[in-house]
């Protein structure tokens, strides 16, 4: 064994001297690590063989990394040490950062960011199953194709790696997504590797590695879940439940045609006429009762209507007041009319019972019509009585309220669907498999 003093913990690191600058380097993943980049002179060293040799030398200053090698952080209760860093790109464009994490008891993980959010990646040990050219399955979850085969290269390395990493090293990468998760396929001539990445919450990342993460990223990341998706579900559930309840109420409270149609003849003198109509039988536990009055011959006069719906058994009375009025005349701009020859009132929740409708009504002529005085053209109608038709029915006006409530519910829902669709369009805008991207390709050609 490497460890002659049985029981003492094995050293966690192996020390060596950089053959380029002589600096003391510690290998954290001894036995796995093949390539290490000297932290002092940035020389890339080959440590796969006992004789450490310099592969390439970098005399650029080491990039100021967000997570310097040696930093430890805890994700999902497991402590990780950042041991390597790579900057990668697609032929120099769209750069992103990858940090290699190591725990001797847990193996390796990747932290990947392009500045819009961080993902934690783990290499898959199983091969995905193809479902169609645009998607595949891993562990029962479907992933949609997002980026098709694109070359990915290494632009800069620091720290240590379990393979012989080299600047310029190129793989062909494809990306598949589902909300919150990304599946990355990287292939070179001798290996195909699949990595499953989980989008980390900004809080997870800042707590683990003290890295500031923008709370919102624009455009969204390929695997970023739509922030409206969950809310839409909740709002839609509540909204449709409310709408369903309203429709149920509508059915319970709705009427079956007019309960009563009566006529009254009123002299246009302002004298109150009283009439009692009935009986009106209301079957529903509670219902809305609407009463409409219509005076087709009304002109330059008004009708006051006092209604009382009186329960024959209890003498409890439900009261309402309505008015119908109609004025007309002629002025410098021509003839005009104003008012409505009918009146509609509604009693919202009337309990079951047998009722009489008591109507106290009066019709009054509008005597002082200034325009009529000036122009002398107001029609002079005689004092003949006005006929008023009174119709009582249940429910019907309630429908308009339900429609209105429906609108109130659907407007925010529609707005959220719109925002969700806009988010998804923006997210998929970068995809090689979306309509817009296909158009872009055509334009490029």
């Amino acid at each position: 064994m490497d460890d002659p003093a049985a029981g003492a913990p094995a050293a966690a690191v192996k020390a060596l001297s950089c053959p380029s600058c002589g600096g003391a380097i510690e290998i954290k993943a001894a036995g796995y690590t093949v390539t290490i980049v000297c932290q002092y002179c940035s020389s890339v060293l080959d440590v796969a063989n006992p004789d450490v040799r310099v592969i390439t030398e970098y005399h650029e200053a080491a990039a100021a990394l967000e997570i310097p090698p040696g930093t430890r952080g805890t994700l999902d209760g497991i402590e990780w040490e950042a041991i390597g860093y790579m900057r990668r790109s697609e032929g120099g464009s769209y750069p992103w950062d990858e940090y290699l994490l190591f725990n001797p008891y847990r193996g390796y993980r990747w932290l990947v960011t392009d500045g819009r959010g961080w993902s934690l990646g783990e290499m898959l040990t199983r091969t995905p199953e193809w479902s169609s050219p645009s998607g595949l399955f891993v562990g029962g979850e479907r992933y949609e194709a997002f980026f098709r085969d694109t070359p990915a290269q290494v632009d800069y390395v620091l720290g240590e790696f379990y393979w012989r990493v080299a600047v310029g090293e190129e793989v062909v990468a494809s990306t598949y997504v589902r909300p919150g998760w990304m599946l990355s396929r990287e292939a070179n001539g001798s290996e195909i590797n699949w990595t499953l990445l989980r989008l980390l919450k900004p809080k997870e990342m800042s707590e683990a590695f003290g890295v500031d993460v923008p709370p919102r990223s624009r455009p969204p990341l390929p695997h970023q879940p739509s922030p409206y998706h969950g809310t839409i579900g909740k709002v839609a559930t509540i909204g449709f439940a409310t709408l369903g309840l309203l429709i149920l109420l509508l059915i319970l409270f709705s009427g079956r045609g007019p309960l009563l149609t009566e006529r009254m003849t009123l002299p246009q003198t302002g004298q109150v006429q009283s009439a009692t109509f009935g009986p009106i039988t209301l079957d529903g536990a509670y219902q809305a009762v609407s009463i409409k009055a219509r005076a087709p011959a009304l002109d330059n006069a008004w009708v006051d209507l006092d209604y009382a719906l009186v329960d024959r058994r209890t003498q409890v009375s439900y009261q309402a007041f309505g008015v119908a009025e109609r004025y007309s005349g002629r002025d410098s701009e021509g003839s005009w009319t104003e008012g409505d020859r009918s009146s509609a009132i509604k009693m919202a929740t009337v309990p079951a019972g047998i009722y009489d409708l008591v109507v106290d009504a009066s019709a009054t002529r509008w005597k002082t019509n200034p325009s009529a005085m000036i122009w002398g053209s107001a029609p002079r109608t005689g004092p003949e009585p006005i006929e008023v038709e009174i119709v009582a029915s249940t429910g019907m006006t309630f429908l308009s309220n339900v429609i209105f409530a429906g609108f109130l519910i659907l407007i925010p829902l529609g707005f959220m669907f719109f925002r969700h669709a806009a988010f998804e369009t923006s997210r998929k805008g970068e995809s090689d498999f979306s309509g817009t991207a296909a158009q872009d390709d055509e334009e490029d050609e």
Partner: protein
């Protein structure tokens, strides 16, 4: 169990299973072979290079309700890295291998070459190369060739079913499947061996007596 003294340094060495005739002396790294005539030396194994593997000789665990103990290891190297194959001796005297590469573990047991009927395997057995991504059928499951590489033995320790001489060169082809199954075909001039099993996590083996590593909290398993 057979206890003898190392013919080279005199230290006590133990052979626990008749199926595992090879033993590397813990003290002088001499490779010993046990036979009816006794124990003889077949050379000296190289000293294992330092690594931070969490496994060590003496690590115990369970796999599919069978207790095992780690009793041997072969370390393989290739142009771009190296990996460990730990020998597990189960309570019922069977043995299997725990492959450890890039922080991932696979538990493999040897199977007869005759089980490989697919022509892709046949072509491999005839010494031909195979492309990464090639599919081959085994027991009604599709296996996919994940990599093919030449490797050579860096060093060995403990008890082994074969002599693992430093510098011994093989060709190793690894297969994977959608279910997490994995297999490995290892070929040299003399023939081929086939190993079948699946990927495992360290945690699911409930390991005890893992190797303590300075500065790292050992996970509580077992």
């Amino acid at each position: 169990m057979l206890k003898v003294n190392c013919p080279h340094c005199g230290a006590e060495v133990v052979f626990r299973s008749a199926a595992l005739p090879v033993r590397v002396c813990d003290y002088c790294q001499t490779t010993l072979i046990r036979s009816d005539e006794g124990v003889r030396q077949v050379g000296k194994a190289a000293t294992l290079p330092f690594d931070v593997s969490p496994i060590q000789i003496g690590t115990r665990g369970r796999f599919e309700d069978q207790a095992f103990e780690v009793i041997g290891r072969v370390r393989w190297g290739w142009t771009d890295g190296s990996w460990n194959e730990w020998l597990l001796l189960f309570a019922d005297d069977r043995h299997a291998w725990l492959g450890e590469a890039m922080g991932q573990f696979m538990l493999l047991a040897e199977r007869p070459i005759e089980d490989l009927r697919d022509e892709k395997f046949q072509s491999l057995l005839q010494g031909k190369p195979v492309d990464v991504g090639t599919e081959a059928r085994l027991d009604d499951e599709t296996l996919i060739a994940a990599d093919m590489r030449g490797a050579s033995c860096i060093a060995a320790e403990g008890e082994l079913p074969f002599t693992a001489v430093t510098g011994w060169s093989i060709t190793s082809v690894d297969f994977r499947s959608a279910s997490g199954r994995c297999a490995s075909l290892q070929r040299d001039q003399e023939g081929a061996h086939f190993y079948d099993g699946r990927y495992v996590t360290l945690a699911e083996l409930s390991p005890t007596n893992l190797r303590p590593i300075e500065g790292w909290r050992m996970p509580a398993h077992g």
